[in-house]
Symmetry: C2
Amino acid sequence: MEHVDKLLIGGVVVTMNQNYDVFPDGAIAVRGNTIVAVGPRETITAAYTAAETLDCSGQIIMPGLINAHTHAPMTLLRGLADDLRLDVWLMGYMMPVEREFVSPEFCYYGTLLACAEMILSGTTCFADMYYHEGDIARATVEAGLRAVLGQTILKFPSPDAASYEESLAYTRQFIETWKGHPLITPAVAPHAPYTNTVETLQACTALAREYDVPLLTHFAETRLEVEESRREHDMAVVSWAERLGLLEAKVLAAHCVHIDTDEMRLLHNHGARVAHNPSSNLKLASGVAPVQEMLNRGLIVGIGTDGTASNNDLDMFDEIRLAAFVAKVATYDPTALPARTALAMATRMGAEALFLGDVTGSLEPGKRADVITLDHTPLHNTPRFQRDPDAIYSQIVYAAKSTDVTHVMVDGRWLMRDRQLLTIDTAALREIAADYARRIDAFLIAREGNVLSKLVAIGGLEQEESFEIQVKAHTADPGILDAVLSSKEVQIVRHTHYRQYDTYFLFNDDRQGRVRYREDDSINERDEVISVRSRLTYTMPTKEREFARAILLSRSQFIAPADRPLRFYREYFQPDIERTIEKERWRWHILYKGILFYINLDKLKEPAHDGYFLEIKSRTWSARDAEYKAEMATEIMSLLGITSEHTIRAEYLELATGR
Amino acid sequence: MEHVDKLLIGGVVVTMNQNYDVFPDGAIAVRGNTIVAVGPRETITAAYTAAETLDCSGQIIMPGLINAHTHAPMTLLRGLADDLRLDVWLMGYMMPVEREFVSPEFCYYGTLLACAEMILSGTTCFADMYYHEGDIARATVEAGLRAVLGQTILKFPSPDAASYEESLAYTRQFIETWKGHPLITPAVAPHAPYTNTVETLQACTALAREYDVPLLTHFAETRLEVEESRREHDMAVVSWAERLGLLEAKVLAAHCVHIDTDEMRLLHNHGARVAHNPSSNLKLASGVAPVQEMLNRGLIVGIGTDGTASNNDLDMFDEIRLAAFVAKVATYDPTALPARTALAMATRMGAEALFLGDVTGSLEPGKRADVITLDHTPLHNTPRFQRDPDAIYSQIVYAAKSTDVTHVMVDGRWLMRDRQLLTIDTAALREIAADYARRIDAFLIAREGNVLSKLVAIGGLEQEESFEIQVKAHTADPGILDAVLSSKEVQIVRHTHYRQYDTYFLFNDDRQGRVRYREDDSINERDEVISVRSRLTYTMPTKEREFARAILLSRSQFIAPADRPLRFYREYFQPDIERTIEKERWRWHILYKGILFYINLDKLKEPAHDGYFLEIKSRTWSARDAEYKAEMATEIMSLLGITSEHTIRAEYLELATGR
């Protein structure tokens, strides 16, 4: 008799191994963190004795479920805002709240709450993408779960980084800290191709390859994303990612709702994995991913809940059933994605999707002991048919509930027994969650009807590059431009002439930021108006940074088309103060040393002002790039013969109002 | 202070009344079976004292859920057969098992099991369509639930009736027995237009109108149903039902997956109600019903689980969430079917769908006390945001689980307290369910690979009319037909000439029935073969009935196109005996006194036989019609000068084999 630590005996052992072996009266033996034997009860009990033997009669013993895609700390935002237009949800609620509240503490407690919910519902391993992943790792280890944790990289400033350079540096450090941990696999998570730049995507790929860690991302979640990818890059999302070399990393791509056969082939050829999120894809009205076709083409597809802000729970039982359901209706074929395959996607194949196929996902000797048991006796599991060997999968997928989960073990350690959590103090967690909810409610109530919310509500809002470089000077003689425009360092890309009528909406409360309604009349060589365009620009009340003297480096702006009359916006925003500025603008898009700048030569008419203003401008997502461009802009000013002492800080609005 | 029987105090009272009033610290007062007051806790406790006061702090107090469509006794078939083609599922599993097992006892116990599951998951009222509805009513009353129970009418013989005439008679009696019961509303349930005849649909409508009871049916569940309706009636399903007058009854139509704008208008104009069944429609790959458009057009739509054979549970929480989800993805609009509306469909609007809008569905003074409470404290309901007044609905619909239901009251009576069922002995039920499962498993194993299963598996199988009328005679002189064919009582519709090559597959086990493979060569006037058709006919081993002497009255047959060679079918069915028959057939479709008959004049070639055989045939779904047609057939024989002593009983197969 060999000695082991734990024996789980009796119950139906559903191994989810390659043969789909099921032992109707089975047992498993666990030593340390590893499964050493699986088989019929008699065989196992004849061969092993154990320090602890647990009778699982009347239960199903199966591998723990694998949640292939979530954003764990968002449990703290569950039910915050639902049934909204995607842009309203994201820009009106999620992003402002995340900017304000997401901290290391938020991520730590949010993850603990998520882990508690996952353990209660039978999940033993998950893939995460969020901020402050080091704190998420700390909470996950404390809870005792297994996870692949992807630190998010965005071109935008994020709750844990003012620039993507900071994010990349943090990610490297995060990987160094956690690589090799028995429960945690660190990963790089560029949020999506459209929220990254070519540079950040390539830096992420290089980092993932350097450390041989997975790269987690979102691909083709919405139709809009695909349309924009085709417009901008003339190719579909996955094709674009492949072109950039992203698929050279070990990619786990969430969603893939709107991908075609060629993209499936690309993913398959590069060994990329897919995380299917049916609840989220339905709730956000994204669409239904072609999962059956992916599987037919040999792709490895896991199932994920996505974050609780778009689900609104972490219940993998709901998710597996829904995966089976939507695959059927999407193909009008009731035999699509049968229960056994759906369960495999959440166990063995799910582990493969997380590049943990050797470690977990099935009950097999040598794998880690990630095991759950399911109570077979609740009435909703009654009766039990035996004729069809697949009936056990049908029962688990179509009838069982997450609340049937009785015991949970991860890495050979009990995390739950008889539905009692053993590693997490939920009473304290509830208090903390309630406190966050109160503060977030108060924050949102305070900003109810604020300018950004109103802008989001009218639609079409887009965030501009995070960093604006702007340097300005006054000159009596516009002719000083000629030398620069004819310089061999400068290539003129485009020249335009406008009359601009700006109306600024200002508010007594500075935290509201400000809105500019601009009418741009484009003027041809015969001084005729050839087109008119109106748009809104919202400038956030965030700190602006200066680089050198009088060079603005950072200003968060959002733009939106203004397809309604000025009168509408005036009534809608109800500004406390209104200012108008009219000017004539001659504009050049130039490449200076190969870098794009805008030169504006402006003649102020209202308020009237002598002479001309010269502006040199550029925008970028990168902090490092912003500093580089600021230096270039100073060089251009020098070419104009203007030294930094002569540049001016004031904006036109300040000239007009003194504000 | 007024005295009442029960006070439920504390907790968030979600009334689901027209104003969607919510009382964050509320209470309700119940006297007898009726709600007498709903409001803030302070107001109610100041006005009422009660024999029983229940503290519901930390819970949500809300109306019980209404399951607008199910087949309750099918709980006993849960998980029997899943992930199958619809015809295989229906004809290969459901129908044979129902034919064998569905009895008053089955319906009684199956309903008790369903009621137990419904109470545990917060359902207090349901609409049912099945067989032996009297026994279903008995179980429902014993469990204490409210229900609209529709007795099924089919053109086929059903588990509770050999003919539809029996069904109609039983339904009338069922209504007489149960009309006016405080919990039970009896109803007429013609299964669907395509499974009924014009006559049965009109008889059902008349019956529903005579007793002013609802008419429950299935409309436009699958694309195939709609295609066939268009082919057969040249109009869509609802339009056809309207044409027949069906919508003059109080109709509650399940599914309506494939209906267009005109059909919605028809339903709305006639005050018909719809039961939406998202799980079933996804699992059977039927499609997604256009629910948002129905609601926009003012239709009253409830939510149903359908039977557990196609779901596989009776969990309305799953169903409500899924209804909200699928409406969003179907319209690519995340604001479609918001949580509050989805919950209304399962409460107040659900009651209206069952024509019980005055009785139940919301917490309002004067309505019956059908109340559930939901535990707010499980982690999956954490945290709780208050800012948005709709957050409470979002929490119930997107995060809460059926297992959060704590207490259930119907008609003022407690059915569950602290998750303990008070009216149903589940231990006994489990035993009974397990026993049925064992017997059904054994039955299906015994018939595994039987002929009908094999036929179902190859597809295209259709059931023929239940009653076949056949009378046959031998004659040396085919000329005797002339007098009949030229009679003024007879109108010839069509005349054809075939050479028929029949191969019979016979089995030593008579219970297998028999299969005929027939090649029909159609012959023109120049004796040339102009077309060839092959098909399979399966004759069930059911009892045949005779009417008068030598007139066959009943034979259950299925037909399927035979699109593969005879060799294939021989290997596939592996008959024990094979017989071939060849004959020349001249066939007339005639109307005799306006009724369709077939006259066959057959010359047997293999086995060769002197003279000719004459057959007069007809088919019908109706037992009464069969007897009438049998008399007509005898009259036609008399016109031929053949008296009943000269008719013969034997089939060609018997002439060939002696079997």
